[in-house]
């Protein structure tokens, strides 16, 4: 496909969304460091091209399921920055009325079925949504995001088997950022990752997850297959998280080196790479991209202010929504 078919509008939008995720996460880190945000958050910085590449290949009707590191997926699916910050601060205006927090944002309007704090916890939900889409003949596709850590969870294999058997319209998007929390994935992952879905007859694409164009192209092919009734695809996206496992994971040289972090940031930054590409292809000039950066900066600051000023939920909310 390539950048030409993508169209300049979409290409620039992908840039804007990646920058939004990056700046959003910078603010989240600040909110944590200044003790304004309760609890913890797992930042997506560095992995932006995966969420944006995949979600750009989806329509607003398509579903996604997300993970504990979910802010990027949520934003890439089109979520409102204000409502996300409000949720992160536990405020009534947040996506879940403050009940979910960072690890549980769901955005029903955009068919984001929710982040999940159980590793692998959304694999079943995503596959069920694909089953439902097929049964309802809705034409919808599902993107199921998970980290390579979820490869340890049996449920993933149970549902991939069914998805392949019944040709369900789903993309299994494995975000391999090299670490399960504080343990290099190679120490806990045997054999070949790619051969696992292949064993179920699921086609696999092994992707540079820092290259948004490559992810977008592969996701588009997978979506086309899914809509044509040809079943699931497994996208293995090689990527990297810039920050700690969560915002509090600051001293991390015992499991990965500063040099490694620096290398990814300088040589493989998805936003920088896309920026260079857009300029080289004559799709955008530096001035336009700088302007987008500034607009996003404003958007994100406004979101934080909104969230800070939003009220906490009323006490009576504690007992609502236990049952539907």
């Amino acid at each position: 496909m390539g950048i030409e078919q993508l169209g300049s509008g979409a290409a620039v939008e992908m840039y804007r969304t990646m920058v939004t995720i990056r700046k959003f996460e910078e603010q989240v880190n600040q909110l944590y460091l200044s003790a304004i945000m309760p609890g913890l958050a797992h930042l997506y910085s560095g992995e932006e091209a995966v969420a944006v590449g995949v979600c750009s290949a989806l329509t607003s009707e398509d579903y996604i399921t997300s993970t504990h590191r979910g802010h990027g997926h949520c934003l890439a699916k089109g979520a409102d920055v204000r409502l996300m910050f409000a949720e992160l601060l536990g405020k009534a205006d947040g996506y879940c009325g403050g009940k979910g927090g960072s690890m549980h944002i769901a955005d029903q309007e955009r068919n984001n079925l929710g982040a999940n704090a159980i590793v692998g916890g959304s694999a079943g939900i995503a596959t069920g949504a694909a089953f439902s889409a097929k049964k309802r003949q809705s034409g919808q596709v599902v993107a199921c995001f998970f980290g390579e850590g979820a490869l340890g969870q049996g449920i993933l294999y149970e549902v991939m088997n069914m998805a392949s058997l019944w040709k369900l319209p789903i993309l299994y998007v494995c975000e391999n950022n090299l670490y399960n929390e504080y343990t290099p994935y190679q120490e806990v992952t045997a054999g070949s990752i790619l051969k696992r879905p292949e064993a179920f007859g699921i086609p696999v694409e092994d992707l540079d997850g820092q290259n948004v164009e490559e992810v977008y192209d592969a996701a588009s092919r997978a979506v086309a297959r899914a809509r044509a009734g040809e079943g699931p695809t497994f996208l293995h996206c090689r990527t990297y998280r810039y920050q700690g496992h969560h915002v509090g994971d600051i001293n991390r040289t015992y499991y990965r080196s500063r040099e490694e972090e620096q290398l990814w940031r300088t040589e493989r930054d998805p936003i920088q790479l896309w920026r260079t590409r857009l300029v080289a292809a004559g799709i955008a000039d530096e001035a336009l991209l700088d302007r987008i950066d500034r607009e996003v900066e404003e958007l994100v600051k406004d979101g934080v202010e909104f969230a800070k000023n939003a009220p906490y939920p009323d006490e009576s909310e504690v007992a609502t929504h236990v049952y539907a």
Partner: protein, 339 residues
């Protein structure tokens, strides 16, 4: 959390004060030195020493053969632990959050709990599962539950809920030496709580509650961190002229029924406090034990205070409503005197 006066006194006598996290680490290290069959397996247990850093340093002494980083496979490591336990080893399986126990629950409930009985006593499962409980860490619904009641419901399992560093060390060593599967629940908010702990290894037998403070008017029965809530409530009650006896349950299965019943007979009133959901919870079981055993001595119904029966909300003002607090305990106690 405040340290009870009795503990402070003991501390001054015994000299050494360490944290709950250190007590747990020391228990594991001493048992691993004593018994080469003991090993630890779990996610991020080796170099990382778990996210709570409780196991930090153990891999340096015992190596990655005995402090084993696993894939994120809770059913797998639990099942592996059961099989290893049945064939001569003494595994300590680390399940990072109690909320992940349900992933491994077939292994725990249908396998570990049943093997000894089903085999007519021929096979044994000397397995320890260390895990966490406790809310108010702003971790939301899937990282904040206290699920010990579920496992206390299952015959064949033993369940420990230590409240002090002293409990933690003695109960954990007992758990490792026990020939049964033991689920060991640590309150994740209590790892930095300090208390007196003897340096040499010792065991606290299961089914022995500890009377933390003697009193004459009401018995407060509590588990894990709720013991501190009860002690703080007792202080508030003392200001109102109500003398509370505070009992630390230590193990919910087996349960020290005698101590609970005897105390309630003496004080004639009892309130049970636990951080698990109230419905069908640990509080229900203990309250019924006391109601049955001390019925003719009671001056008021046995009351209970568990976590609110809702998934734990993220938003701090909501989350704070869901857990027992000293003030809430005091209100319940007062209601027993106004009847």
């Amino acid at each position: 959390m405040s340290m009870p006066d009795t503990m402070l006194r003991e501390t001054q006598e015994s000299g050494r004060i360490i944290t709950m996290g250190e007590a747990i680490r020391e228990a594991l290290a001493q048992e691993m030195r004593r018994d080469s069959r003991v090993f630890i397996i779990g996610e991020d247990v080796a170099e990382a020493g778990t996210p709570f850093k409780v196991l930090q340093g153990l891999v340096d002494e015992f190596g990655t053969d005995r402090v084993i980083d696993s894939p994120i496979s809770e059913p797998g490591i639990t099942g592996l632990g059961i099989g290893a336990a049945m064939t001569g080893l003494r595994p300590v399986v680390d399940i990072m959050f109690g909320d992940f126990l349900p992933l491994a629950s077939d292994q725990i409930i249908n396998q570990a709990a049943k093997v000894h009985y089903m085999s007519g006593g021929k096979l044994k499962v000397p397995l320890v599962i260390r895990t966490t409980l406790g809310a108010t860490r702003r971790s939301a619904a899937q990282h904040s539950q206290s699920l010990h009641a579920i496992y206390s419901h299952i015959p064949g399992l033993k369940v420990a809920v230590p409240a002090t560093p002293y409990d933690a060390k003695g109960l954990l060593i007992q758990a490792i030496r026990d020939d049964n599967p033991v689920i060991f629940f640590e309150d994740k908010m209590m790892y930095t709580v300090k208390g007196p702990v003897p340096e040499e290894p010792y065991v606290i037998p299961f089914g022995q509650a500890a009377i933390m403070q003697e009193g004459t008017d009401v018995t407060l029965v509590a588990t894990s961190s709720m013991v501190y809530v009860a002690l703080d409530a007792a202080k508030l009650l003392a200001d109102q002229g109500i003398s509370a006896e505070v009992i630390n349950v230590r193990t919910t299965s087996p349960l020290d029924r005698d101590t609970l019943i005897r105390s309630a007979m003496k004080t004639t009133r009892a309130v049970v406090i636990d951080e698990g959901y109230q419905q069908y919870g640990v509080t229900a079981e203990i309250a019924s034990v006391i109601a049955e055993g001390a019925f003719y001595y009671l001056d008021a119904p046995v009351k209970r205070l568990g976590a609110m029966d809702v998934p734990v909300p993220f938003s701090p003002p909501l989350e704070d409503l869901t857990v027992p607090t000293p003030e809430r305990v005091v209100r319940v106690v007062q209601s027993l005197f106004n009847q």
